[in-house]
């Protein structure tokens, strides 16, 4: 176990725990406004202060973690569910027309600036968490397709795959039974990284008003709402900003740590 992995896992677990606990408990109801108690600094009652409507920021951050994690997790899920089979297919049929089609299709999606397209999608189909998930998910597909294909291609040249082929297994069975288990580590590491990017993307979309709609709290929208209030109540911007940074940092550290930890070559070299 390395230090990055531990620190990253701790940070990620912290926010995951906040999100999970928010289902059953938050210090205050995050939807209840108490206007006379607005813009309070952090104190013993409101641990992170109150926002411009007097809502408890700590509770909003907890529920906001839920929004961020849910959107990012499902978006990465979509990317994996569609990207990995595409990558496996492309690798199995390497050099064929279908391989070309899949990979050039990926290039096409890659060529667009992802956030701009995400804004386009949500602008056309309406703002909301579901459309944000779809928008972010689409951009995760080529990431997983490409990484799967790259890893699978080299595997296809290995002796144990040759053996499987000689034994008469079909390309589909080989992909599922031998290739996929051998790229799993890679996918876990990439998934962690994509998860952190998904959280950033969700915050970006919410910031421009295209993510989860009020009253569902979202870190990005908390930041946007805080903009004109920065001079009066800096904690309004600071807290959701820190939440985003720490979560993304945690996930990235965890991704790096996992890569080191799971990669057998690195492990051997360090020993």
């Amino acid at each position: 176990m390395n230090r990055n992995l531990i620190l990253g896992a701790l940070l990620s677990a912290l926010f995951l725990a906040a999100a999970l606990v928010s289902f059953v408990w938050t210090p205050f109801d995050h939807t209840v406004m108490d206007i006379p108690a607005k813009l309070q600094r952090p104190d013993g009652v409101h641990w992170l202060g109150t926002d411009q409507y007097g809502r408890d920021i700590f509770s909003m951050i907890m529920v906001g973690a839920r929004t961020s994690i849910a959107v990012a997790l499902v978006a990465v899920g979509i990317g994996m569910a569609l990207g990995v089979p595409l990558g496996l297919t492309a690798a199995a049929l390497r050099g064929s027309f279908l391989d070309e089609l899949i990979m050039r299709g990926n290039d096409l999606v890659f060529a667009f600036p992802s956030l701009v397209i995400a804004i386009l999608i949500t602008a056309v189909f309406g703002a909301g968490a579901v459309n944000a998930i779809i928008a972010i998910g689409i951009f995760n597909i080529p990431v997983f397709a490409r990484i799967t294909r790259g890893a699978a291609l080299s595997l296809w040249e290995r002796e144990f795959i040759m053996a499987a082929r000689v034994a008469g297994k079909s390309a589909a069975r080989i992909s599922a039974e031998h290739i996929l288990p051998n790229v799993t580590n890679l996918l876990i590491v990439q998934g962690t990284i994509q998860f952190s990017l998904g959280i950033l993307a969700e915050a970006g979309l919410s910031y421009v008003g295209l993510g989860a709609q009020p009253p569902t709290p979202s870190w990005g929208r908390m930041l946007a709402d805080a903009q004109t209030l920065v001079a009066i109540a800096p904690h309004l911007a600071l807290i959701p900003g820190l939440a985003i940074i720490l979560t993304v940092l945690g996930l990235n550290l965890m991704g790096d740590g996992l890569r080191d930890h799971l990669d057998p070559r690195l492990r051997v070299s360090r020993a």
Binding site: P36, K38, P215
Partner: protein, 493 residues
């Protein structure tokens, strides 16, 4: 060496300060929040058009002064016949349009006939509905005959929708407005600004500024930054009330707190269930805490209202008690209406912060009595399309900034779709009443009627805040109509 540098610096500063001041004296850049769709005030409802052109470029027979009173405009004087149906206007002599053509009685006839024509696209056709004929007596005299006496006719003629335009320049009016005002239109950079320059041939008191730029900054954060950085000289209708204390504390700026004619309301779709039930509308009205909205969304700026009428108007009746904040009563009313478990609806919110922030607060207040209002944030174009024209909404928040506009409740096809014969008759009676006392009594009855029918939930009268550099004088404090009148604006010496 040290001394030299300091001296050089000081003189450089002096020079730059000097040129800056010299430039600033004759020029001004004023920002407003909304950009108009085009520049013809006589063919669209968008108030942003008047915010640019009213009084600056276009003028009518009469006009609003900064205190809301009606003063002569292009008409120097007028005579009203005994029976109150004939208005004979005497026009100023020698008035020229910006393209050099003369403004005379023919142009007045053209403008009024165009506005009241069958195929007219004027957004306020009701202002001209009473006109039976417009006759040219001689080049500076025009006679307007009404079907019946109308106590508000001179008021109607002051609206931006009633300005005088010329047949010679009407074709391109939307992009090249040609009027008679103290400023000439120079250029419109879409998405950025409209530039005007002083009209040297103006018939009246000439503008004190040589050049005026009206810039459009919709984002409150950008508005704050632009004022702070002194990129603009003034912001009329500053959109972020939370920043005002900072400007008030800063000697570089002055903050003008004024009133508007903007009744900010939570409009309900009176023809769509469940808002077709007056009990439900009353419940919504009692579910809302006005003061919380004013404090939370407007940082305390705004006056609570209980009906669709401006509190600073002498005829105003305070009816806020009829729809006081009483969530228990709201729940009871919902139960009476058979909706004890509440219901779901939509809440369409246009961009201004009174709507977006107010909407979040209202959604929370409605949730407390069991009403789930799904927030749908829309841009103005979408709002006009789906809410105003399409009437596809449950609830929406908007500020009605036209002066004395209670008569919109007499239009059953108006977006909130209030259809009351009694109210329509009352407005007909109002139009036929010319004495002030009689009109006041009718206006008060009208206010009570819409408050009693709980047509909409009345929130507050929008405040109008202008932030300007300390040296500017002559800006309007209040907004009796939508306008950014720069004709009297100048820099203090």
């Amino acid at each position: 060496m040290h001394h030299f540098t300091r001296l050089a610096l000081a003189s450089a500063l002096a020079i730059s300060a000097g040129t800056g001041a010299a430039l600033a004296q004759g020029e001004i850049t004023v920002a407003i929040q909304l950009e108009p769709p085009h520049l013809d005030p006589t063919s669209a409802a968008a108030g942003a058009i008047d915010s640019v052109v009213y009084a600056n470029i276009f003028e009518g027979l009469t006009r609003f002064a900064s205190d809301g009173s009606i003063i002569p405009g292009l008409a120097e004087s007028w005579e009203i016949s005994e029976d109150g149906t004939t208005y004979t206007f005497t026009l100023h002599d020698g008035v020229m349009f910006h393209d050099g053509t003369t403004m005379d009685a023919e142009d007045v006839k053209f403008s009024l006939d165009r506005a009241r024509a069958e195929d007219s696209t004027n957004a306020q056709k009701a202002l001209f509905a009473g006109i039976q004929s417009v006759d040219v007596v001689d080049p500076t005299t025009v006679k307007v005959t009404l079907g019946a006496p109308d106590g508000s006719f001179l008021f109607n003629m002051a609206w931006g929708d009633a300005v005088i335009v010329a047949p010679e320049s009407i074709e391109n009016i939307k992009s090249t407005p040609i009027g008679t005002g103290a400023f000439k239109f120079v250029n419109w950079t879409q998405g950025d600004s409209v530039v005007m320059e002083k009209n040297p041939d103006y018939w009246g008191t000439p503008a004190k500024l040589d050049k005026a730029t009206i810039k459009f900054i919709s984002d409150p954060t950008a508005a704050f930054a632009a004022v702070m950085a002194e990129d603009i000289d003034a912001f009329a209708g500053f959109p972020a009330p939370e920043n005002l204390p900072q400007f008030e504390a800063d000697p570089r700026f002055q903050v003008l707190n004024g009133s508007t004619e903007g009744e900010t309301i939570l409009a309900m779709n009176n023809k769509a269930a469940p808002f077709d039930n007056v009990k439900v509308r009353e419940a919504v009205s009692h579910a809302i805490d006005r003061q919380a909205i004013i404090d939370g969304a407007m940082f305390g700026l705004g006056t609570p209202i209980g009906t669709h009428f401006a509190p600073h108007n002498p005829a105003y009746v305070d009816l806020t008690g009829m729809s006081n904040y009483d969530p228990e009563k709201a729940k009871a009313l919902l139960a009476e209406a058979g909706l004890a478990d509440g219901f779901e609806t939509t809440l369409h919110l246009p961009p201004p912060s009174y709507a977006r922030r107010g909407g979040e607060i209202i959604a929370a207040q409605l949730a407390a009595v069991g009403i789930t209002a799904e927030i749908i944030n829309v841009e103005w174009a979408q709002w006009l399309e789906s809410v105003f024209r399409g009437k596809d909404f449950g609830l929406t928040i908007v500020s009605h900034t036209e002066p004395m506009d209670i008569n919109i409740y007499a239009r059953p096809d108006y977006y909130f779709q209030y259809d009351s014969k009694a109210f329509q008759d009352l407005m007909t009676k109002l139009n036929g009443t010319t004495d002030t006392e009689g009109r006041t009594a009718i206006l008060q009855e009208a206010q009570e009627m819409i408050a009693g029918d709980y047509v909409n939930a009345y929130l507050f009268e929008l405040a109008f805040t202008t932030v300007a550099k300390a040296g500017i004088q002559g800006l309007w404090v209040n907004a009796p109509t939508q306008a950014t009148d720069l004709t009297g604006v100048s820099w203090a010496d």
